[in-house]
């Protein structure tokens, strides 16, 4: 698993450098969540939606690790003519739904889960949303609907990296007490270290009944590269050659 994590993080770094793209921090915080899902949890008929579409590169690198897309395709990220844009595109093989504007992925997932439940199909729906998306009204509209209809086939993973676009979440609009808010909206709520594959697997596989499952995944924005961690500069900046080299070295050492 370390190999996959290392490769994904290295590719995120390399391609951000090459394409001069932003949102590295947001990509690095969800690597373990994606690895746990794609390598351990998702079955053939399950659906996965990345609602925080700005972390598209993390998803593309994971899809490459899973051999959904070719290296040539992955390397086209952010260049002219490619469909691998900076926000998730359904035109990329293996991608379920395009996102980019926050607060869209959860309603889509609720629709899919509702369809499966109505038709007594066993497909499950997994969606990753960001902590910034908690600001969106649609998040709460969807939660109310999902819990009212007991969508137990829906798993919502909140990438709680504590930093949104401009500042720390706590300084922008505090979302705490998050767990009790989610509980009061009728969800089964779990908290987990979002960088611990073993814990993630355990919670993701845990049987779920009567309510949608919400996993608050405590993560670190920019995880894996010391100078990017917990620094919202890396929501915007792309690495220069020196930062790329230092970052790649750190990743190789950490995930050897």
């Amino acid at each position: 698993m370390n190999k996959n994590i290392r490769n994904i993080r290295s590719n995120i770094l390399n391609l951000s450098f090459k394409a001069k793209s932003s949102h590295i921090g947001s990509c690095l915080s969800i690597v373990e969540i994606l690895v746990a899902l794609y390598f351990n949890v998702l079955k053939k008929n399950d659906r996965f939606i990345l609602s925080k579409g700005h972390a598209a590169l993390a998803l593309y690198c994971t899809l490459y690790e899973k051999k959904f897309i070719s290296l040539k395709n992955l390397n086209s990220f952010g260049s002219n003519k490619t469909t691998l844009m900076n926000h998730v595109s359904h035109k990329v093989k293996g991608v379920e739904f395009s996102t980019g504007s926050l607060g869209h992925g959860l309603p889509i997932s609720v629709g899919k889960a509702l369809k499966f439940k109505t038709n007594k199909e066993r497909n499950r729906v997994f969606v990753v949303i960001s902590d910034g998306e908690i600001n969106e009204g649609t998040t709460w509209e969807s939660l109310m609907f999902a819990s009212h209809h007991k969508l137990e086939n829906l798993t919502i993973i909140i990438d709680y990296n504590k930093i949104q676009s401009m500042d720390f979440v706590d300084k922008v609009i505090s979302i705490e007490p998050l767990k009790s808010k989610l509980l009061s909206f009728g969800c089964n709520v779990h908290e987990v270290n979002g960088h611990n594959i073993k814990s993630l697997k355990k919670i993701l596989k845990k049987k779920n009944k009567n309510k949608p499952k919400v996993i608050i995944a405590h993560t670190t924005k920019g995880k894996g590269i010391s100078f990017m961690e917990n620094n919202n500069l890396w929501h915007y900046k792309n690495p220069n050659k020196n930062e790329l080299d230092v970052g790649l070295k750190e990743i190789n050492n950490r995930y050897a």
């Binding site: 359904h90 869209h104 509702l114 109505t118 509209e141």
Partner: protein, 289 residues
């Protein structure tokens, strides 16, 4: 038209692949569908954005979804969900809006649908379906069942009863003759103002033919050019503002062409309507003349 729409939709749902999502609206209208398909109808509550995203989610799993609401709620309130989730993904969601134009006259400006064409016709995959009578509505439902795609169905609030049902066939960009007259000069209307178009003809343009165009949209502009050039004059009649409306759409069809057809437009007065009144009163005061 609301009850007829539900009746036809209930009839059409043979394979049960239709979902009807309502916006906490439709009392004494949607019941026939609910009685027959209780597991295919959901009330999204008062949450238009979640409703529209959810509709896209269901549609992405090979189902046809009809979202039923009042025109102002199911358009501007959830415009981005329509753009990103439905139109971008080209999903078979039909947005059914009741109360076209000034249909909810005395509910006030918040409930008037005067800019809805402008919004809905700027989406690449979206078609506008605006029936002017029950025959057109029945044919439209038949068309959209056979050709599911992003679509905006704009319905009159009133349940008018046509004297006689006549089977017709509607298609995108096709015009349907209502009154015979001059073959080169026509009045062309869309939606719920056919009677008004006929009145205008009888008052001012007695020799013009009158046609209706129930289905149109961005992707049919080029096809429609060929039809426009057959006429010397087209007078459009609609219950929408001129900006972004049907008449503007016709004019846009002619941009960068040498087609000489003269286009005139009749529309709702372009200002905020602060007065209250019945739809007939408001249409008479602010509508096309």
């Amino acid at each position: 038209m609301r009850k007829l729409f539900i009746k036809e939709l209930t009839k059409a749902n043979k394979k049960k692949n239709i979902y009807l999502i309502i916006n906490d609206l439709g009392f004494n209208v949607i019941e026939p569908f609910k009685d027959k398909f209780p597991d295919r109808i959901f009330n999204a509550g008062v949450s238009e954005q979640n409703m529209m995203g959810m509709a896209a989610g269901i549609a992405s799993e090979k189902c046809n979804v009809f979202v039923y609401s009042i025109a102002n709620f199911s358009t501007f309130r959830c415009a981005e969900q329509i753009r990103n989730d439905i139109d971008y993904h080209n999903l078979p969601v039909t947005i059914v809006s009741v109360g076209s134009g000034l249909g909810y006259g005395n509910l006030g400006y918040t409930h008037h649908a005067l800019q809805d064409y402008a919004l809905m016709r700027c989406f690449s995959n979206m078609i506008i379906m605006s029936p002017g009578n029950n025959n057109e509505l029945v044919s439209i439902i038949n068309y959209i069942r056979k050709n599911p795609q992003p679509s905006y169905l704009r319905l009159d609030k009133n349940d008018q009863i046509d004297k006689k049902f006549k089977k017709i066939k509607v298609e995108p960009g096709k015009i349907i003759k209502l009154v015979n007259g001059n073959s080169k000069k026509i009045i062309l209307t869309t939606g719920n103002v056919q009677n008004l178009a006929l009145k205008i003809r009888n008052k001012k343009f007695k020799n013009h033919s009158v046609y209706s165009m129930p289905i149109w949209g961005m992707k049919y502009k080029i096809k429609f050019r060929n039809l426009i050039k057959k006429f010397d004059e087209i007078i459009t009649v609609e219950d929408h503002l001129h900006d972004g409306g049907f008449g503007s759409w016709i004019k846009e069809c002619l941009v960068n062409t040498n087609i000489k057809t003269k286009i005139k437009s009749k529309f709702i007065k372009d200002s905020v309507i602060n007065k209250v009144g019945s739809s007939d009163y408001l249409l008479n005061k602010y509508g096309p003349k």
